[in-house]
Symmetry: none
Subunit: 316 residues, 2 copies
DNA sequence: GACAATTAGGACGTATTCTGTCCTATTTAA
DNA sequence: TTAAATAGGACAGAATACGTCCTAATTGTC
């Protein structure tokens, strides 16, 4: 291998080791015509290596200051994954990530060859993701200490307002963050309540990083804890409903709620708690498969009432 | 001019990022024969980049120490955006992006200073995103031509199976892709039907890139078109339901579906089409507010039948 | 010693890419 | 105005890159 590949890379080395060189000089050193030098300059640009040119008398070529070997090489799959990821990050809206997304894209594009840049641009221009969106960003002054705490496994002191309650100051060991249905949550060990708790980030009023350190439990599954705390702890009525279907069909109809179903003889058991049988009856009524209410009797009554309402609507 | 030059640079990058790699491994990664790898090694030597080789069993190639990539400097916000984006990309499952996400992360980490790497790791370890997930990846052989078509604005010939219909070959000008509720769609101009159409990617059986080019309409809004086509076109029964509620409550209950409701005297009008009154009745029965069925009469019957079923369950 | 897995490099045919030449166009400085 | 630099399209002929096939040598394991 002695030809153009070597000459293009030799051009790169020449430009790296000289402040500025004219096309005539480069042609002589590479042993090619000036027209070919211009092609090689194009080749470097396509490889993502930015070259500054000066027109007119005393013109010439220079590498952008400080630029070094080599450009960032992604495969098409990698470019796709990266571009989709940055698209999705628009929806998450944690802190001021909108501006950050643009600047990340700009930085990555500067080290991408033109072909990958074009692919990345096409993906961004033609692909849309409809995802749950977070309404408002979490204020940056909350997030910086929180991310530091997560990274360094240090406690935080938070001022938090639960639903319908006054603000309380607590010390928390943050184990993880979760994004679900457009909201950000933090899960961690609450020293005030002496147990795992979940906090909505939009209800955080103040957060301060403490010196005290903790050890996050190994294999702590943030999503699992959240799912349980959201579905399993609230409410004062125990509920058991047997769903006469398979796990796959249940997941299709119920989304991630299906993860709390337990396989049993006869189907899948939904075991939870609720404050409102009527709300749960409404939710159950959309399920496209058969189910049986085991507990509580109030739920059967609520379902009956709901069905009566539907019948009244149908008769209008 | 790009193939071999890029591959030589990729070889350099691979050697810089791994302690040692065999010729077989390098050939696989670069997509060339081992004989070509040996030529590329020669090329690096000719460029003055010293490569150490080890003969025999477990042999391989290594760079002489000292050839490094420049660090890539991201801010904390940028690191957060990038890391969240890659987390989210897991759910989208378009082609084989799972492996690609890992390798993107690895590539980026190699050029990150230790502090950013630690932050990025902490984010990946402690943050979870619960998002709609795509069940299965779109086969790569479909996606490559499709992405090429989008980038180059070239038509494709697709073999597509609509719901309950036989496969049909069509020529389509693809305008964009959309991810929604766990599914990937393509929107474009269908030459067979002479109008904009929406296609589910999991129903694509074949796709072939054509030479014919098109001009994508300026400011084409993929999501808007999708929303309209998904809610306004499918089905053979016209549906009109008046929801006796306000827009905010509707949005809480229905998510983005609420965007298609039209304010009218008496509430919000849902005007759509459906193939299945029974499915629609099930969906309507979960709504936590009053509604009236205007059209069709079949929907009233379906709602009645659904309510009867619920009553039977309540009586068990 | 035999075998397997690695390194090394020459030769060949084939498909693809590259090159210099010619040309037009634009930008600077003297 | 002239000269010296940048820029890029088009064309015909030459050069290059690639995989395949082959021989040769080096290691490690059984």
């Amino acid at each position: 291998m002695s030809g153009p590949t070597i000459r293009v890379l030799s051009l790169l080395e020449l430009l790296q080791s000289h402040g500025r060189l004219s096309g005539t000089e480069l042609a002589a050193r590479l042993g090619v015509d000036k027209r070919t030098v211009r092609r090689y300059i194009q080749a470097l640009e396509q490889l993502g290596i930015p070259v500054t040119t000066e027109h007119g008398c005393d013109g010439g070529y220079m590498l952008v200051a400080g630029f070094k070997l080599p450009p960032m090489m992604f495969t098409n799959d990698e470019t796709l994954a990266l571009s989709l990821g940055l698209l999705a990050a628009h929806n998450l809206n944690l802190a001021d990530t909108q501006g950050a997304i643009s600047s990340v894209q700009a930085k990555l594009e500067r080290v991408m060859p033109a072909k990958l840049k074009s692919r990345s641009r096409a993906i961004a221009d033609t692909i849309k993701l409809i995802l749950p969106a977070s309404d408002a960003g979490t204020p940056g002054q909350h997030l910086a200490p929180l991310l530091d705490a997560l990274e360094q496994q240090r406690s935080v002191s938070i001022c938090y307002t639960s639903y319908q309650q006054a603000s309380v100051v607590r010390q928390v060991d943050p184990y993880g963050l979760l994004f679900r249905s457009g909201r950000w949550y933090m899960s961690g060990y609450c020293h005030l309540r002496q147990e795992l708790r979940t906090f909505r980030l939009d209800r955080l009023q103040q957060i301060e990083l403490l010196q005290q350190r903790f050890n996050r439990p190994e294999n702590f599954d943030t999503a699992e804890h959240f799912t349980r705390s959201l579905y399993g702890m609230s409410g004062n009525l125990d509920v058991q409903v047997m769903l006469h279907t398979d796990k796959h069909t249940a997941t299709q109809a119920m989304g991630e709620t299906a993860s709390m179903l337990k396989p049993q003889a006869g189907g899948l058991l939904l075991s939870t708690r609720t404050d409102s049988c009527y709300c749960l009856a409404q939710w159950l009524s959309q399920l496209p498969f058969d189910f049986s209410i085991i507990e509580p009797p109030e739920l059967k009554l609520a379902l009956q009432q709901h069905a009566d309402r539907l019948i009244a609507i149908a008769r209008r």
